[in-house]
Symmetry: C2
Amino acid sequence: MTPDNGVDPTVQQPDTPAKTTDQPRTLPPQVSRRGFILGAATAAAAAGTTGLAACGNINRTTEAADDDDPTQAFLADDIVPFDGVHQAGIDTPGQAHLNIIAFTLRAGTTIDDVRRLMTVWTEDARQLTRGHNPIGSLEPELATIPANLTITCGFGPRFFDIIGKTDQRPEWLKPIPVFSKDKLEDTWGEADLALQICCDDPLTLAFATRHMTRAGGKLLETRWMQQGFLNARGATDPGTTPRNLFGQKDGTVNPQSTAEYDDYVWIDENSSDPQWVRGGTCMVVRRIAMNLDTWEELDRTSREVAMGRYLESGAPLTGKEEFDTADFKAKDQFGLPVIDPRSHMALAAPPTDNPKEKMRRRAYNYLESHIPGSDHTTNVGLVFICFQQNPVTQFTAIQQRLNDNDRLNTWITHIGSAVFAVPPGTSEVGAGKDQYWGASLLES
Amino acid sequence: MTPDNGVDPTVQQPDTPAKTTDQPRTLPPQVSRRGFILGAATAAAAAGTTGLAACGNINRTTEAADDDDPTQAFLADDIVPFDGVHQAGIDTPGQAHLNIIAFTLRAGTTIDDVRRLMTVWTEDARQLTRGHNPIGSLEPELATIPANLTITCGFGPRFFDIIGKTDQRPEWLKPIPVFSKDKLEDTWGEADLALQICCDDPLTLAFATRHMTRAGGKLLETRWMQQGFLNARGATDPGTTPRNLFGQKDGTVNPQSTAEYDDYVWIDENSSDPQWVRGGTCMVVRRIAMNLDTWEELDRTSREVAMGRYLESGAPLTGKEEFDTADFKAKDQFGLPVIDPRSHMALAAPPTDNPKEKMRRRAYNYLESHIPGSDHTTNVGLVFICFQQNPVTQFTAIQQRLNDNDRLNTWITHIGSAVFAVPPGTSEVGAGKDQYWGASLLES
């Protein structure tokens, strides 16, 4: 195994009690990165090593003291810890680039094959995210810039048939019901395995994508790959909600605290789901095509009515700031609701009788290169990835309302859908945790 | 027109004599960005405003004093001046992302249509590169982060038939001869117009791509779009030669000085080319597929022999550092040449009797998203863009040698080819220069 030379030791202590990654990893959007760093430093000074390590996956912020010169290659030091209670890449703030790849396991694959695959993949992902060259790669130069690389693994419905453990398949792990407005293309459909690979550097991302695909060897066929982007690092202040290609801030209502993640993202010990998935989550991947041609015919006010928010600030139409609470009862001078009940925001909001109808959204924009025969000018949209405890009561419940009434439906179409069970995080030395993705499932 | 609020005034003086963009815009690769800034500051102190403005398109470096905190959105202040003697995006250091779009002009297009298109496009590109919202866009929020955006326009062979000025077509503006190893696909072929759009932020790039395409309105059909990437800003020290997906440093032999650009990139006053293109250049776009499956079967030594350079340093096999001069006569202990005469580097080097066989290379990596029916794992390669005075005596002469003997041909295949005449730079107020792209051609 490659030695850990050059890696910040504070992120390389998989077995100290301090490494509780169930501390918040996500920056509150209002807090600037510099502000957060100062806060973290203060907390660390008060609490000692524990305080610092408690920053978990956002340790990238704690390295700012070393990289306060933008002329230097600061992304080369930006490492998101791979091991932890939960997999990285879920509560990790969105990196600039996404490749999410779905695979089919070839006929004849056995549980032993899958165990070997997961052992190799997990170790390779661990090394890649540290900026180390994984075994079997002759490209060490392409592995040196981790740039907040995360690699997150999920298992599709058929995975459990292949490994002969259908009783271990979570009840919710099945295709999302087809909604009336869906125009699903098989091209972007269900698969046996998925790797969500995210990174702030596109070259590192390409290398990691290639390496992981190749490491799967003959067991795997690529079912699809979806690529996406947000703003580059350095383009916006950290914590800024990214915009989609409709110009809307996308992800304002995401969970911000550990408590919120525990409440509706991470599958907990009291869940009725199988033991192996506790600490994990459910990942839904929807491909949503956006029609810019017709969207651009709208004036700003109409766009804001459809969304229920101001475009510039992202504030609800009843508020001033992005994170203001929406007042769905407010009326305008004509007695009409200020926020249209059929606006995207109103319909996406959890009903008062089910406050857990929320998800961690991790959407990426796509603008595809030329595909022969297609009109590229409308080949844009959103790779909408969300994480939740149970898609039936979360994604599907929300999407049913959106499908039926969302004003945005005029300009968006769901064209792809896939669901994956995401195993919990790993520990490099095991010791009661999975040493590789799904170990407790595959060794049970 | 949008006012210039918030833009560094040193980059907004199109008519001061100081704005001689034939000063070097490209950082010598050995010089760190910080080192360059200090040098530029010293020069400016010595020379006054003239010294500072002479930095031309690399003014982004002069703003570092404002953005030495990576927690802030420094890319929002990074502006490459649009106007100048030459178009930006040619000697501009490679930004992280590329969309190069080729268009076909629809039947019935007149020279008046083209004149209007160029007027609108030039003004929109000028505004976008400043971080201003162009007229007709309702997305001001997507226009605020210029992130070194450049938009460079080129005219294809048929353009001159359409505008009825075939006598103004440069003699070299015709398809590159088909080489014996080419497997050209019409999908990536010749077109009437091209926009090379490059940016360090992928969202700004997507917006600019969409806006410019839409601004072309009904005159244009998209022929193809090619997307590419290099390392992100902040991933490597500025001036570092980027790597391709074979792990090789790509672009080591690029021109570094104004003299070199004048010598073989910019079409000069003594050229036999038409007057309108002087100060411009020729852009060749080749799509080069790379076979990673077979490349990865090679050991490191074989890869280095094929390239003629060490992978890690990029140095010639006879040297130690990337920019060491290659010694093609050096022999090893067996009397064999250290640098294989059939290596890529040996064949690409200009022959002693024709030292002008060089080009400005601006290659971008591609790794394409899933295309139904294709095997994505080999859908990678290089969008190879190069600029030169004359493709016949530069690109084609070099490529003929490479086609015939380059060892790299085992792993690479040219699948696309297009050539464009790139008009010179512009001035916002005209005054003896083109106010819009190709004005002196279209108004002659």
